[in-house]
């Protein structure tokens, strides 16, 4: 379980996150929605220590990632991250993007790493792109490679930072399908997204954030069907 407690983040005098609390139980999908600048992405970056919180605690399976005395990288290793702009390594082929870290960190042999990478590529529907370079792929294909690359490290949790926001509309569904499959297999996921259909269908819990606070949270039916808060109603009115 990932447990965020009283997390605040300031950039200079700017309060980006104010006293955030949330829980992500295992095998559940938590979707975070909200207007731009609400602090959703920042929260995700704090959870896997790409940024450091100003105050508060983030426990991952009971270990606090905000405590520098802990082995941060071993906590980080439990979480995979999928980025809005994919962040594939352009100097490596699709296969190498996926196998590099398993080979270097888990010391897998070339054959083991390749075999697993090919399985993962089949899973995301890109078996024919093994030797392609990222720049020759469409955005949707790149993002699916990004997901496969994260999965190769066998993370317990997957964090998605607006995974479809940089894609052409016709590419979005391919990526969402992969994410849905993962959710159905029981992967624990935190997804920051603007895809309301995905949230409604897949989320166990939807969190609505605005201005650095959690305004409202609940089941998809509760949030989309009967939002309680004025800010939530306003936001959903605009995007649905």
């Amino acid at each position: 379980m990932i447990k965020v407690e009283h997390i605040s983040k300031q950039f200079g005098t700017n309060d980006v996150l104010k006293d955030i609390n949330l829980e992500v139980p295992e095998n559940e999908v938590v979707v975070i929605i909200g207007p731009s600048g609400s602090g959703k992405s920042t929260l995700l970056r704090l959870i896997n220590h790409l940024d450091v919180a100003t105050s508060g605690y983030i426990h991952v399976d009971g270990e606090d990632i905000t405590d520098e005395n802990n082995d941060i990288s071993s906590i980080q290793a439990k979480m995979g991250m999928v980025f809005q702009h994919f962040n594939l390594f352009p100097n490596l082929t699709v296969l190498e993007n996926i196998t590099l870290v398993p080979k270097r960190v888990k010391r897998l042999s070339v054959d083991e790493a390749n075999e697993e990478a090919k399985k993962l590529l089949a899973l995301v529907g890109l078996s024919d792109k093994v030797n392609a370079y990222p720049k020759s792929l469409s955005g949707g294909q790149q993002q699916r490679v990004g997901i496969a690359r994260s999965l190769a490290m066998h993370p317990k949790y997957l964090l998605f930072d607006e995974p479809t926001s940089a894609l052409d509309p016709e590419m979005v569904d391919d990526v969402l399908e992969v994410m849905k499959d993962l959710a159905k297999q029981g992967m624990t996921m935190i997804v920051v997204t603007h895809e309301m259909g995905f949230a409604r269908e897949i989320a166990n819990k939807v969190i609505f954030m605005a201005d650095g606070v959690v305004v409202e949270e609940g089941s998809p039916n509760a949030i989309f069907g009967a939002p309680q808060h004025v800010r939530t109603k306003e936001f959903l009115g605009k995007v649905l």
Binding site: L50, A77, M81, N91
Partner: protein, 216 residues
Amino acid sequence: MSFSYDMILDYAPFFMHGLLYTLLFSLCGVVFGTIFGLIIALGRMSKNPVISGIFKTYIGLFRGTPLFVQILITNFGVVPAIFGHSNPYIAGALSLSLNAAAYIAETFRSGVQSISEGQREAARTLGLSQFDTMRFIIVPQAIKIVIPALGNEFISLIKDSSLVSAISAPEITYWAQAMNAQYYVVWTPYLTVAVLYLILTLSASRLMKLWERKMA
């Protein structure tokens, strides 16, 4: 203006010999300057303020003083202190390499810093060590970006190698001066070496273009 082909023929063996040394000095500068430059660039970007301070000082000293003065200090100060006597070959190769390293380090640094933060973040979330991130992700991309700038450094190095003639390292400028002293002629020796330098720099620039295209 008088130009004597007979004199050139007379001095041709010396110029050929000199050309070899010019090439060797330049090559030393390119190879060691690149290796040291990469190390200095990585040190300069260290998060440890003491380490980055040391490399910053190195770069500041070598870029802030004339190469000519560095050559003199190396030949008449540093090399005698280590080997007991001055040696223009060692001093020439050493001073050119150390100087080139400072410039190449800054070139590398600009290349590394131009790689988007997302690359480092992706590597970090996957659990790749900082060293491996540099080795497999950042440096290969940075090298590609800095090839044109690196080419300019290499070409400067070929031209700057002429300065080691002042410590009697027998490269082509040294032989031009010798010819000038022997025959009291100006145009013939200096135009000859000018043309030789031009051939070297144009060839180097062509080679860099080819490399650039191969890496693209």
